[in-house]
Amino acid sequence: MNDAVPAIEVRDLHKRYGEHEAVRGVDIEVRRGEVFGLLGPNGAGKTTTVEILEGYRTRTSGEVSVLGYDPSRRQLELRRRIGIVLQAGGIYSHVTPREALAHWARFYPRPRDVQEVLRLSGLTAQADVRSRKLSGGQLRRLDLALALVGDPELMFLDEPTTGFDPEARRGAWATVRSLRALGKTVLLTTHYLDEAQELADRVAIIKDGRVLAIGPPRELGAHPPGAAQYRVAWRDGGGALVARQTDDPTRLLHELTSEALARGEQVRELSVSRPTLEDVYLELTADG
């Protein structure tokens, strides 16, 4: 498989469940070695999209390529090269992390060393504890360890920190960063904005089964399609706070200040700001 081929290519993906169309024309390209975030509110179609890429669901229409394979054909060669962390993937209760990892490692042609995976996922101390005695956070780390043990090129992380306390979240973030350091391509879904901003090289904002915006988190804040680039705010002569969205702040500021000077007034509390990813996200995903 050629490394120049993107890790994931999705074109005009549709998925219909009876009357309901969960995915309505998604286009995504994930490059090798990047952490790509699929960001959107619950029910936006993130998990459906990811489960089509993982081979769990078949698509209604569109083109999908994962490492050059069609995931709906469920070829062994593809499953040997991907690692999947599900939202709710359980594990046998009477097996320890070390045993589970040793078992999983045999599924893959070139697995990572079990001891090393235990260390990477922070489970060394719990390596020989039966999984039913592990805490929720430890089980999530085991999820990650099981996905990592086959040394996959591409990892899918579906809402990896949902339900975590802040400390556990920071731990999970550190792990995702270490995946990037290992050269893995990561497709991450999340409904947490800060998570996407913190981890992803590029983000696609998805809502109602459509991609609304795509790009690096910082640029997405600066150049949101369909949204103004700058927000200019000031207090007018009557003392009311005024805010205006504009793509051309220079002109607006010039007009504003000339008028004020002409009237001999001050422009008080003047501010010019660029919308953050949060502004864009809230604006794009707002209801109605």
Binding site: Y56, G90, H94, G150
Partner: protein, 249 residues
């Protein structure tokens, strides 16, 4: 292919290890049928004719509990916990997974039958089985048939909490009707027809022939045919209806 065989073996080893680590599974598989055997043996003490029927009946019930009941429980549990979905996402071949699971059930059944055969010889005075070949044929046919039906039945059970209710709603009436029709020649014809059409009574008939009467395989071919038909139906249902993940909602 060698790889798939090796993975089947690994899955089987893991299933065995988990079985012994789960005390309640081990209890239901081994202790419960023995308790039935001891309880029934105490009641029927001194009545050899009745003991001759008790041992193969308990053997038949054991085949059903180690396959039908155990697999329905196991699959509903693993499906609800998301273990099956996780396995589905790995390169473990489906055949290797189910091969390991099935061999685990076969091992439990074989251990169970061995215990009952030894108890029958040592305690219940029915001696060693008259026809080992027939015993093996019927146990294997029963395992394949009832294991497939257990996997198929798992598809009907909506969640793990209701598994006991669903399984017992099938297991208890089938065991009752089959035992009654097997034991009582004067049972109403309607009940006898029902029992003969279900897989357990033919299995017990075959086991009786193998363990006690020595009537031979040829005289029980119709019983084998009933088990075979249920087996084909069960496999068809198990494959067709299988779901790897919990239905939503």
């Amino acid at each position: 292919m060698g790889d798939a065989m090796a993975l089947t073996w690994r899955q089987y080893r893991l299933e065995r290890r988990m079985f012994w680590r789960n005390p309640s599974a081990a209890f239901f598989n081994f202790v419960l049928p023995l308790l039935f055997l001891i309880g029934g043996g105490a009641i029927l003490h001194g009545n050899q004719h009745q003991l001759d029927k008790l041992v193969p009946a308990i053997a038949g019930m054991s085949v059903m509990s180690t396959t039908f009941t155990a697999l329905a429980y196991n699959i509903v549990f693993l499906r609800e916990r998301g273990v099956l979905k996780r396995i589905r996402g790995t390169p473990l071949p489906t055949g290797s997974y189910f091969g390991g699971v099935a061999c685990n059930a076969v091992t439990n059944t074989a251990l169970q039958i061995a215990i009952i055969v030894i108890a029958g010889r040592a305690v219940f005075g029915i001696g060693w089985p008259r026809d080992w070949a027939e015993l093996i044929v019927f146990v294997l046919a029963g395992v394949v048939c009832l294991a497939a039906l257990g996997v198929a039945f798992a598809h009907v059970i909506p969640n793990f909490e209701s598994t006991a209710a669903y399984v017992n709603a099938v297991f208890l009436p089938v065991v009752f009707v089959s035992f009654y029709a097997f034991d009582t020649a004067s049972a109403p014809e309607f009940l006898r027809n029902v029992a003969d059409a279900l897989p357990l009574k033919p299995l017990i008939d075959g086991l009786y022939g193998a363990m006690v009467s020595g009537s031979g395989l040829p005289s029980n071919l119709d019983a084998l045919a009933v088990i075979g038909l249920w087996g084909v139906f069960g496999i068809w249902l198990a494959v067709r209806g299988f779901t790897w993940e919990q239905r939503r909602g």
